[in-house]
């Protein structure tokens, strides 16, 4: 299928919004993406005609809802080329997925004297759960540093990984856009006997994913960043690891039996899905996966390469030294997320002026404070592009930036 940008845009109703006579320019998809009609309609229709609890009751509607819910699992498994659908666990977001790994795998496998390796570009979701556990268990966290153009600095990676139990890293930085060499990093981890945990939040929505080709052990990501609904996240893990792990949340559905004296766990994936699940959200997620699959993830990636190239060129041509774009300039090494500093104007003020033109960007630390300290900034402006963004929107960003410059000339 060839990629038809105007048709894609027509699939997303919010992109037709006009505020104060100006169109919406949504450049915050790295934060959370917009949703196509296919997803909205699937959820609405399910709520109007088919809503029912899953995996509990046995009547036809409940069986149908269970099929849709389990069908979503199968679709997600196929989307990331997971060997088995049972290895896909629904959580509430990627954050819960990473907490699940830290808590269940980590508390069973990490204790004093052990160490894990993280990178300097991690999102708080891949830092704080480990810090919480480290405070309890007394293991050490080691950090992979960055090069000056925002890539992982692998000079001392063998030293860092020696004796480490796990290497947990993002596949793509949510601040710098850096795409990390996931397959190579998984191999390095395994060479040192560490498991490889991949934060796929920023990569899975934007390029093809093959967890078997990566040879990863766990991959976490979120529905809401991949044109799917909020309220549902994903953890894929190797069956043998998931099987050996203690449960995370306790309650209904995750048990095989409960007596006053104790309980026994259900098999995968129920073991990690306590309580009533995000049912309508799974239905919406299935529609999102179908939608992205029909578009083709290679096409999504190609479109984003083009728009990234155009954005880098446009911003540099128009603003020269007045703009400092963090991270790599090589579109083979980065995704369509651009963080930058613009003159001396504070990111919050930049975003305010942009907002007057309905240009939606995020200004702040992007939940990556350790990385921000490395950049020497306490905030950046971040414009992030997705399959529905256009070169015209890059121009709208540049026009609004120019105005911010005029307004705030110090």
């Amino acid at each position: 299928m060839s990629f038809d940008l105007q048709r894609v845009r027509a699939d997303f109703p919010v992109l037709a919004e006009v505020i104060n006579g100006k169109p919406l320019v949504y450049l915050d998809s790295a934060n959370s993406s917009q949703k196509p009609n296919a997803v909205i309609d699937a959820m609405t229709s399910f709520l109007q005609h088919d809503y029912s609890p899953t995996n509990r009751s046995a009547y036809t509607m409940a069986a149908h809802a269970t099929d849709l819910y389990e069908g979503a699992r199968t679709k997600v498994a196929r989307f990331i080329n997971a060997p088995r659908a049972e290895e896909v666990v629904f959580t509430k977001n990627a954050t819960e997925a990473l907490n699940l790994v830290a808590h269940s795998w980590g508390s069973a496998n990490l204790s004093e004297g052990d160490s894990i390796v993280l990178t300097h570009m991690e999102h708080h979701a891949n830092i704080v759960p480990w810090q919480m556990l480290a405070a309890e268990k007394g293991f050490t966290i080691r950090w992979v540093p960055l090069t000056s153009d925002g890539l992982l600095d692998l000079t001392n990676i063998n030293e860092l990984l020696t004796g480490a139990s796990a290497f947990s890293f993002t596949a793509m930085s949510n601040v710098l856009g850096t795409i990390n060499p996931v397959k190579e990093l998984c191999a390095l981890a395994h060479q040192h006997g560490a498991i490889a945990i991949v934060d796929g939040c920023q990569s899975v929505p934007h390029m093809p994913t093959d967890v078997q080709d990566w040879d990863a052990d766990f991959v976490a990501f979120s529905s809401h960043k991949m044109v799917g609904p909020s309220g549902i996240g994903l953890l894929w893990g190797r069956e043998n690891l998931l099987d050996a792990m203690p449960p995370f949340l306790g309650g209904g559905n995750m048990i095989s039996d409960v007596k006053l004296e104790g309980f026994t766990c259900a098999d995968l994936p129920a073991k990690f899905e306590a309580g009533t699940q995000p049912i309508t959200e799974a239905v919406g997620l299935a529609a999102a996966v179908d939608y992205l699959t029909a578009i083709g993830m290679h096409n999504v990636r190609q479109h984003e390469r083009e728009i990234t190239a155009y954005a880098l060129e446009t911003l540099t041509n128009r603003f020269g030294d007045d703009i400092v774009i963090h991270g790599s300039r090589d579109i083979n090494q980065r995704g369509a997320t651009l963080s930058f500093a613009y003159r001396d104007v504070h990111p919050h003020d930049v975003s305010q002026v942009l907002d007057q033109h309905n240009v939606c960007v995020r200004a702040g630390h992007h939940c990556a404070k350790p990385l921000m300290r490395l950049l020497g900034a306490n905030a950046t402006v971040r414009a992030s592009f997705y399959l529905y963004n256009t070169n015209d929107e890059v121009d709208a960003l540049a026009d609004a930036l120019a105005e911010a410059g005029d307004f705030f000339t110090l």
């Binding site: 046995a58 036809t60 269970t66």
Partner: protein, 146 residues
């Protein structure tokens, strides 16, 4: 929509009302135990395996008509058969119930009364009821082989 008679064939109701091989066996018989966490059904399968033959089988537990009759028909089907036959039968039944397993089952195996369970496939929620005893038998055979 499939009707009740698709699910509840006469032979199923007969095995439900008159279950064969009900009971328990003392060690050295081995024991397998299965739960359906969805509905609370429980099953116990007791086996005496000697020289590769399922010499005796008894079945205990509680459950719905489908799980109980499936268990009863299972006992009849495997009693006196070789372990190998029993395992092939498990694979055959799972295949019939549309449960994906690795490898191809031997579809030449005659199903006998168990043919009646084909209707269950139209009622996906009940497949777990039908298969519970077979999974439990597989577990008991594993224990016996240890």
């Amino acid at each position: 929509m499939p009707g009740l008679e698709d699910l509840y064939r006469e032979i199923i109701l007969d095995h439900y009302k008159n279950p064969r091989n009900r009971g328990t066996l003392e060690p050295p018989a081995v024991r397998g135990e299965g739960h359906n966490p969805l509905c609370g059904d429980e099953i116990e399968v007791f086996l005496i395996v000697k020289d590769g033959i399922v010499e005796d089988i008894k079945i205990a537990g509680q459950g719905c008509s489908i799980s109980q009759s499936s268990a009863s028909m299972m006992g009849v089907a495997v009693k006196g058969k070789t372990v190998e036959n029993a395992r092939a039968f498990i694979a055959r039944i799972k295949h019939m119930l549309s449960i994906d397993e690795e490898g191809e089952p031997d579809t030449s195996i005659a199903l006998g009364d168990l043919e009646a369970l084909t209707g269950v496939v139209k009622f996906p929620v009940r497949i777990k009821c039908a298969v519970l005893s077979w999974n439990t038998l597989a577990e008991a055979l594993d224990i016996a082989a240890e």
